[in-house]
């Protein structure tokens, strides 16, 4: 493609070169000046456009980021600065006191530990269970395969909110309330994950699998030592997506954890009923602390997440 167009451009320029030869030196000079002027103009408009784009971006990004900027600012603000008529977007007397209080006055570290444990195990569990299922769906032949896969896909239609009452009643009967297992086990697989991994496995050369089989490699060994290491991109995307979702879970933990020791970050913080200014700044400092992990993971894993998302979900 680029070859053709560049050779066409060459033919063009040699044509015009012949044309130019017939013109007088003066005319050539005038044309050269004109073209320089136009180039300059084009460059200037291009520069102006880029500057305009930059300004617009700064304005829009400021609006989008405003809630986060505001939260960070309040987190660093002494509570006495909160009640003012001025626009208090930048703390005048920045302090770390709110963070200290958030860590010492409420069991925030315990909440953070709970959330890391729950989100970490959910992520690990989903990667394993979804890899296994996706492997079977894309490498093995068995009866009812397409029906079973349809059934998995059909689960995407059932919103968690629609089954949450029955699930709550079930785990209540089992005496599972206020345990880690009730926060983790219901989330140990996902249709999205099976779909995403299968999508990646479909482009995995089947000959590699066959060669491994001939060498006497068991299926499980193939999955863990060959397939998974070679589809790291899918695992990365899945890990970022699952961890952030688990970290941000709200409704289920709200229902099944009454005990403060079992609360996750989202529940623990939103249970604080902050009325006075001191607890407001402390609560927002807590919010900043619990947003940090999910934002960091998102920024680090953004590229992989996007690549994974669009290899499966959108391109179909």
């Amino acid at each position: 493609m680029s070859n053709i167009s560049s050779s066409a451009a060459m033919a063009d320029s040699s044509d015009s070169a012949q044309g130019i030869a017939k013109l007088s030196q003066q005319e050539i000079d005038a044309m050269r000046k004109e073209s320089i002027r136009q180039n300059e103009k084009a460059r200037r408009t291009k520069k102006a456009r880029t500057a305009g784009r930059l300004v617009l971006n700064i304005v829009v990004a400021f609006v989008i980021l405003l809630p986060l900027i505001y939260a960070v600012s309040i987190a660093f603000m002494p509570s006495s600065d909160l009640y003012t008529m001025n626009l208090n977007l930048i703390p005048k007397h920045p302090t770390l006191e709110n963070f200290q209080q958030a860590v010492s006055k409420i069991p925030l570290l315990r909440f953070i530990f709970n959330s890391f444990l729950v989100a970490g195990l959910i992520t690990l569990g989903q990667i394993i269970s979804c890899s296994l299922a996706a492997f079977s769906f894309s490498f093995l032949k068995f009866k009812g395969k397409s029906v079973l896969f349809m059934l998995v896909m059909a689960t995407m239609m059932v919103p968690g909110e629609a089954t949450i009452i029955s699930n709550y009643l079930t785990v209540g009967q089992w005496g599972w309330l206020n345990t880690y297992k009730v926060l983790i086990i219901p989330y140990l697989t996902s249709a999205m994950g099976i779909f995403l991994f299968r999508q990646f496995y479909q482009s995995f050369p089947i000959s590699v699998y066959e060669a491994a089989k001939i060498d006497g490699c068991s299926n499980l060994r193939f999955i863990f030592t060959i397939l998974m290491p070679l589809t790291k991109a899918a695992i990365g995307a899945m890990a970022v997506y699952t961890f952030i979702n688990a970290w941000n879970m709200y409704m289920w933990p709200l229902l099944v954890t009454g005990d403060e020791n079992m609360r996750t970050v989202q529940i623990g913080l939103s249970m604080l009923n902050s009325v006075d200014s001191q607890s407001i700044t402390m609560m927002i400092a807590g919010v900043v602390l619990i947003i940090l992990p999910s934002i960091s993971i998102f920024i680090i894993g953004q590229k992989q997440l996007i690549r994974g998302m669009f290899s499966g979900a959108v391109k179909g």
Binding site: I64, Y250, F310
Partner: protein, 290 residues
């Protein structure tokens, strides 16, 4: 030995599905059936089915003002969230369509809301929207009680949700824009088409394949909103923000009417099912177009 190998070959493939199947079975298929079952009964406070009433719960729901209000409020909410969230995402995507210094920073900023929990965002918005200390009233120089005034409460919660969804919309639209051929823009600029005209005649039609998919994903997400309502308004003032999921929660855990809540869940499921089927259809169509 050979027989064992054969059995292994036949049973083996299912073994890899078993872990997922168990979880789906216990926490998805079983509660799904149980929800439908419960929706046909009057229940006691423990959520046990006591009296079979057939479609009675559904009839009660459809004639109850509260549930009708809930559906209406949810519909308005969904419209605001979808339009607002998609607009925000689209603006970001169009602004980051061409390379410029700092594009990495700005595209991360536009995608960032997708990593934030609805509850965390709600806690921040509660302060932002506070009538006395909140920054929104200060910026607008207004004196509005955003969350207690029935006129503004629903819009406030919807704007927050639109903001949360704008991150993923930005990614969808960016992917959509990347699929539009650069050359048509170059040709259009040579023809002297203005930027606005280029946007409406080239960009928007170019986004068509991804537009429908994005709309449906947004609608589904909006229907499932809960945390922000629970934290900001508890369904109020009055029932102005009593979205369907919050209404399910309230029926089950405050009024202990599990049968009625189950019937509401089934209605929610039916709505989501229709929307998801539309999405799958759109995805197939989008795939063929490319």
């Amino acid at each position: 030995m050979a027989a064992f190998e054969q059995v292994k070959k036949k049973v083996g493939p299912y073994c890899y599905i078993v872990p997922s199947a168990i979880i789906f079975g216990i926490f998805l298929f079983y509660p799904f059936v149980k929800t439908i079952y419960l929706s046909l009964f009057k229940t006691n406070k423990m959520g046990q089915a006591k009296l079979f009433v057939g479609l009675g719960n559904y009839k009660d729901l459809l004639t109850s003002d509260s549930f009708r209000n809930s559906l209406a409020v949810t519909a308005i909410f969904v419209v605001i969230v979808v339009i607002g969230g998609m607009l925000l995402g689209l603006i970001g995507a169009v602004l980051c369509n061409k390379s410029f210094p700092g594009i990495r920073f700005f595209s991360t900023a536009y995608a960032l809301p997708m990593s934030i929990a609805s509850s965390s965002a709600a806690l921040i918005f509660r302060i932002m929207l506070d009538p006395t200390i909140g920054i929104v009233n200060k910026l607008l120089q207004s004196n509005i009680n955003w969350l207690r005034d029935p006129k503004y409460a629903l819009v406030s919660v919807a704007v927050l949700t639109a903001w949360l969804n704008s991150g993923i919309n930005f990614l969808y639209f960016s992917a959509g824009l990347a699929n539009i051929d650069e050359e048509i823009y170059e040709r259009a600029s040579i023809d002297g088409a203005s930027s606005a005209r280029q946007f409406f005649q080239l960009t928007l039609p170019g986004l068509r394949p991804i537009m429908f998919y994005t709309v449906v994903v947004n609608i589904i997400q909006a229907f499932q909103s809960f945390g922000q309502v629970k934290i900001l308004t508890q369904g109020g003032p009055g029932e102005a923000t009593n979205l369907i999921v919050y209404s399910i929660y309230r029926d089950a855990f405050f009024n202990f009417r599990f049968g009625s809540a189950a019937a509401e869940s089934v209605v929610l499921f039916l709505i989501i099912m229709v929307l998801t089927l539309l999405m799958f259809k759109a995805e197939k169509k989008g795939g063929k177009a490319r």
